[in-house]
């Protein structure tokens, strides 16, 4: 199965003896495997601890978001039937049923938790923090205190989201929170104080992300080790860098929009509210505003945000694919340029979420062209990943399987994007389950599988132990199969005209026959949800019982693999110097191994000889 064996004592990588019981060896070169874990509850400014704090928080939130999703799936499969477990406790007041306003709340909070408390912070917060200094050879972030604050600002946000459940049954305007539903307190049970709390939570998340992003940009620009030129950076770093730029430029718009909406709600401004509208018997609005303004501002952030939710995973998967194929990444520079192209184009496509909104149709045409063009760099990346695996010595371990799934699922999500980018077709499929299929394929199928791979790939660096590969493969297989059974049929539901966010679609005659398919999907979703306990068991169990490993168990090239596992404060024993790119696997320059750490010096003449041989 896994043919990668933990490295023992490779000269360049400074491996160490497994049996040295480094456990209690505080103060020695060899840190205790759990040294990062014990610092979790502290206000630490060490980037590794902060990364770990983010990671464990987001894994917890993943389970919360998953539970909310299962509530949604329950209703879609067994509408109005008594909920198992929760029916007798939480939903007792509604006779054990999910009330329609509860359903819209579940949909809203599932998306909000998954997007703002899981995907964005796990990529930038957890992996960005952990990996950036290690991979560029720095001893920490440029602004360690800011970094710690960026984590601790998550908690007030989580508190706001959590508290919002207790007002009017929770926010229920959808994660997009379009006004006037979200602007007028009386519009729905969840449009009251819950909505305000939701908006404040969102703003706090924004503050947290912004602090991270400033930090990442500064760190990557200023703190690279000698020899770590821009084009020797691992693609993980490139993707984190570009993501940070996206955040920094897109986020202020959302923050401003959030404040405007809060002002509309509490101060009586009317940025998004037209005049003379009577919602649910409230007083007529004074007005002068325009609801479409919110959509523009929201998507101006949230389209780039979907790339914020993807690019770091693309970078990490590139690193893992190269390592597990024992081959250089195919087309390193095209990979960098396509990342940049996605980010650049990402700023001018937001209107594709608004094709049916009634905005100027000429805008629709421009947004359609830019949207279709953004599929191009995505295609280029996909081909390069295939090229990377082509002819490699593929290590079929849990890490690699998750990465292959990333590529395969990203293809599905990218291709379904083309249907929606075609405006006339989008007229039909907009706000149907086709959209739901699309973004789950990119966000779960691609990003989350990428994260599963990344967790298992960098776990040894975090805890000095390996995660169990057999268990990892089982978790992968179950999740992958259940994922496809849950989400692939959604494409067909969308084509059948099944609308999103419906508490009970089946009272429409043309949707009745879709119930059995939905029941199948819900069963698959339950399997998928419970499979995640395997990941958690593996993750937490391996911290204590995993096989001890050295510094570089995967025989990888990056600078992070030259540090102790886990790295102590300040990371590197001696400041590293970087001599090549990170992907020199199986190079003729490596002698009896198949990798060439970035720190290993090779005389120029030899490098030129290899270059001339035409690689």
């Amino acid at each position: 199965m896994s043919t990668v064996t933990p490295d023992v004592g490779h000269p360049g990588a400074g491996g160490h003896d497994h049996d040295s019981h480094g456990h209690h060896g505080h103060g020695h070169a060899e840190p205790s495997p759990l040294s990062l874990l014990w610092q979790l509850p502290t206000f630490s400014c060490d980037h590794k601890v902060i990364g770990m704090q983010f990671l464990i928080t987001t894994l917890m939130m993943l389970m919360v978001g998953g539970a909310l999703a299962l509530g949604v799936r329950w209703q879609l499969a067994f509408p109005w039937e008594r909920m198992p477990i929760l029916g007798d406790t939480v939903f007792k007041g509604d006779g054990g049923q999910i009330a329609p306003e509860t359903y819209t709340m579940l949909v809203t909070m599932h998306a909000s938790v998954m997007i703002f408390l899981v995907i964005i912070p796990i990529l930038a917060g957890a992996f960005g923090n952990f990996l950036i200094p290690l991979q560029i050879g720095a001893d920490d972030m440029a602004f360690p205190l800011l970094n710690a604050l960026s984590y601790w600002f998550m908690w007030p946000a989580i508190a706001c989201f959590g508290a919002s459940f207790f007002f009017g049954g929770g926010p229920a305007g959808g994660w997009t929170s379009y006004p006037l539903l979200s602007a007028i307190q009386q519009a729905a049970p969840g449009s009251g104080f819950a909505q305000t709390l939701w908006l404040i939570g969102l703003t706090l998340i924004g503050v947290s992300s912004m602090m991270g992003s400033v930090n990442y940009m500064t760190t990557i620009i200023n703190m690279r080790a000698p020899g770590m030129t821009l084009f020797r950076m691992p693609l993980t770093i490139w993707s984190m860098f570009i993501t940070a730029i996206l955040q920094a430029f897109a986020l202020p718009v959302l923050t401003a929009a959030g404040f405007m909406l809060v002002a509309d709600r509490t101060l009586g401004t009317c940025f998004f509210i037209p005049s003379g509208i009577v919602v649910n018997n409230a007083a007529p609005t004074i007005g002068g505003g325009q609801p479409l303004l919110w959509q523009h501002l929201f998507w101006f952030y949230s389209h780039p945000a979907v790339y914020i939710m993807l690019l770091p995973a693309m970078g990490m998967v590139s690193d893992m694919l190269a390592c597990m194929s024992r081959k250089p990444i195919f087309g390193y520079k095209p990979m960098v340029y396509s990342l940049a192209a996605i980010a650049g184009l990402g700023f001018i496509v937001w209107g594709h979420h608004m094709f049916t909104s009634g905005m100027n149709p000429a805008l629709g045409m421009t947004f359609m062209v830019s949207t279709i063009l953004i599929a191009l760099p995505s295609a280029v990346k996909t081909f390069n990943w295939l090229g990377t695996m082509w002819g490699g010595r593929i290590q079929f371990n849990a890490v690699m399987l998750n990465c292959i799934a990333f590529v395969s699922m990203f293809i599905v999500g990218g291709l379904s994007g083309i249907f929606m980018a075609a405006v006339p077709v989008d007229i039909y499929i907009h706000d149907t389950y086709f959209i739901v299929a699309h973004f789950h394929y990119v966000l779960f199928g691609a990003t989350l599988f990428g994260c599963f791979g990344a967790i298992q790939f960098w776990f040894p660096k975090m805890f000095g132990r390996m995660m169990n590969d057999k268990l990892g493969q089982l978790h992968f297989a179950l999740t992958f199969i259940a994922f496809n059974c849950t989400f692939f049929p959604m494409h067909l539901l969308g084509v059948a005209g099944f609308p999103r966010r419906y508490a009970d679609p089946y009272h429409f005659p043309y949707l009745e026959h879709l119930l059995p398919l939905n029941q199948f999907m819900t069963c698959a979703a339950i399997v998928m949800g419970f499979s995640q306990f395997l990941l958690l068991a593996n993750f937490f169990g391996s911290m204590f019982f995993g096989k001890r490993c050295g510094r570089n168990p995967w025989n990888a090239n990056g600078l992070e693999w030259t540090t102790p596992s886990p790295p102590g404060h300040g990371n590197f024993d001696i400041p590293p110097v970087c001599y090549h790119g990170p992907y020199e696997y199986s190079s003729p320059l490596c002698h009896d191994t198949d990798f060439l750490p970035q720190t290993e010096y090779v005389p120029l003449s030899q490098r030129q000889a290899v270059a001339q041989a035409g690689h």
Binding site: P189, I277, P328, F396, P499
Partner: protein, 272 residues
């Protein structure tokens, strides 16, 4: 084990393609599977065109993926891996070819969109049949009296229905879409019509129903807890039936118990 996973991923692709092919029998476009508007038919053509392009790409990339994995599993210990940093020629090819295809898709559909949304390109003789106002959680429809045209403001002789949109089939008609409270959207799946109703805006939507019939209509923009139950119908009838309905509807709506003709007045007096 490597070969197992190569097959695993290939099989996943085979199963999804097979599922789509077979599932399309049961879970596909609603009704008889065809669009019942002129523009809807063009939308369907486009959908199928993209479906073909996408299917070919999906199958192609997954054949490559399966092959690559299989080879990666077969490779012997003593065999060298292909040490390569990429290929300029390949990069150029796989940039140019997809961009050609994508640009084609983008430009090819421009005129459908233009016909659908740009007012100057609406069919010449589009009759404004009704104003549809969405509110939590129903649709109110206002028609001009027979022989009159739809006015932006309600008129005393306007005819009203709730949740039933009546239109004549076989000719382009337009409705003015508005919202009384929050945002909603009309979505008539079989007609391939969707448009958001935005508070403060009046948005014209045109379509030409090709076959008479009754079509389910739903709300496609989250508008509160009752979003799922804004059940409505578009009833497309022949021109004559439409006019006949209007006469009837007006009679019903304006019936106040006072007989209309002198004869009837006399008859009523006799009864007493």
């Amino acid at each position: 084990m490597g070969r197992f996973w190569a097959i695993f991923f290939s099989l996943a692709a085979v199963v999804t393609v097979g599922f789509t092919a077979i599932g399309a029998e049961y879970w596909w476009f609603p009704g008889d599977g065809h669009a019942h508007t002129t523009l809807g038919k063009k939308i369907d053509d486009l959908f199928y065109l993209i479906l073909i392009i996408v299917a070919v790409t999906y199958i192609g990339t997954h054949i490559v993926l399966g092959y690559v994995l299989w080879r990666g599993a077969e490779i012997r210990k003593d065999e060298k891996v292909w040490f390569s940093h990429g290929s300029h020629a390949l990069e150029v090819i796989w940039t140019i070819v997809p961009s050609g295809i994508l640009l084609f898709i983008a430009l090819y559909q421009m005129d459908v969109w233009r016909n659908y949304r740009v007012k100057a390109y609406f069919p010449k003789k589009t009759a404004a049949v009704a104003e549809v106002t969405a509110r939590q959680f129903e649709w109110r429809i206002r028609y001009p009296a027979r022989g009159k045209t739809l006015q932006p403001r309600p008129q005393p002789d306007d005819i009203y229905t709730v949740n039933d949109i009546r239109v004549p089939a076989g000719q382009p008609v337009s409705i003015s879409l508005r919202s009384d409270d929050v945002q909603h959207a009309i979505f008539v799946p079989e007609l391939r019509v969707k448009q958001d109703a935005v508070p403060g805006l009046v948005i014209p939507v045109w379509f030409e129903v090709t076959e008479t019939g009754t079509y389910d209509m739903v709300c496609a923009e989250l508008c509160g807890w009752g979003h799922y139950k804004m059940k409505a119908r578009v009833i497309a009838t022949s021109e004559e039936d439409f006019e006949a309905w209007k006469i009837n509807a007006a009679k019903e709506q304006f019936y106040d118990g006072v007989p209309a003709t002198p004869d009837a007045v006399a008859a009523k007096a006799d009864e007493k």
